[in-house]
Symmetry: C2
Subunit: 193 residues, 2 copies
DNA sequence: TTCATTTATTATCATAGATCAATGGAAGGA
DNA sequence: TCCTTCCATTGATCTATGATAATAAATGAA
């Protein structure tokens, strides 16, 4: 249960055995069945989640009712609406399990306590957020400078496993295009080969 | 010189007088004339900059030679290619002064030293990066769900001062549209009123 | 002030991707 | 197994924005 968790934590910072014991006590195990929600629009994001097993998506729904996927998270990844988590404002996002999931959750108050006891974790989360920022910036610039086909090809190369596990229409939503357009792109690509 | 800097630092964390003296010694004053570069594509990003006075843009140039603006920074803002700064990989971005600027720069080694001495700063930068992430996520989702006109109107509302100080074609580049399209949008908006 | 350069506007035409609609497959529940 | 629902594909339009080009306006240097 905690193997992957420990591995990910110690990739960027070093923590003692004792510290890890404390960390373990503050994270809560949680199972989520496929299609269940960890967070729903309008609710306050109470948890930051580490994914032990399974896959989830964070998405929002616009005024026309169209879904836009902000991110997928797989084993070893982290999930939360950080804005809502830190401000206690209602979230605009939904977090939904795409498969049966095992998660480790931490509340805001446990989080504060934890950082008080283990300041090194502050760095860990900064790096996490920073990597996320860099990836999001690249995605934004990519959406400006690349065609839908280029973005799709890049996505398959970067996250081949993720693309496998997720229905096409969610890939389309992640790329900011319609499922019809993605379908056309795919058929064009298969002709090219 | 350090007034705004001190104000911004103490907005999110508390630091002692003594600590602030240390911080001051590690930031270097730098003037940049309009059109000068703090960072050029291919170079390693050696500094994280705080903007005391003036305005700058971070942008990249795609294969077709088109510029895409990642962000503007004004008084009180921070600038760097974080990826390059932390990995020492060559940057894909340019950072250019749009006006005569006064900056406070810190190098990576000073930064490491500083965080060692004042761990609370780790939190400060996490919050900074986190706010940037939230803003970038919103911009990304906005580019999926809103028309160019909607995005432009929103931008004027959010950063009216910034839009004033910057030429139209850079606003267009920031929005991911051409200057011609922005021009059309503006003339349509002026008719509507 | 004048000239050169940069920036903004406007018009026309081209196109990537959206929208609407119909069909065929695949998957999950009874 | 059948049936329902969801998902992917394909075709026929439509539309927002891009590309190109010409001109006008603004800016800055001499």
């Amino acid at each position: 249960m905690f193997d992957l968790f420990h591995k990910k934590l110690t990739e960027n910072i070093s923590i003692t055995e004792e510290q890890f014991e404390l960390i373990k006590t503050l994270f809560v195990k949680k199972k989520l069945a496929k299609q269940q929600f960890l967070l729903q629009e309008g609710d306050i994001c109470r948890y930051t989640a580490f994914v032990v097993k399974g896959m989830l998506r964070t998405y929002s729904v616009d005024e026309k009712g169209v879904e836009h996927i902000l991110q997928f998270a797989q084993e070893g990844g982290w999930l939360a609406d950080l804005y809502s988590f830190f401000t206690n404002e209602p979230s605009h996002f939904n977090i939904e399990a795409l498969e049966d999931c095992q998660l480790l959750l931490i509340t805001r108050s446990s989080w504060d306590l934890l950082l008080e006891k283990i300041p090194a974790l502050e760095r860990f989360f900064r790096i996490l957020v920073q990597n996320n920022l860099v990836a999001t910036q690249r995605r934004l610039i990519g959406s400006f400078s690349e065609s839908a086909e280029e973005q799709y090809v890049k996505l398959i190369k970067m996250y081949p496993d993720c693309v496998q596990r997720v229905p096409q229409y969610m890939i389309a939503s992640y790329l900011g295009i319609t499922r019809e357009t993605l379908s056309r792109i795919r058929s064009q690509l298969s002709v090219k080969k």
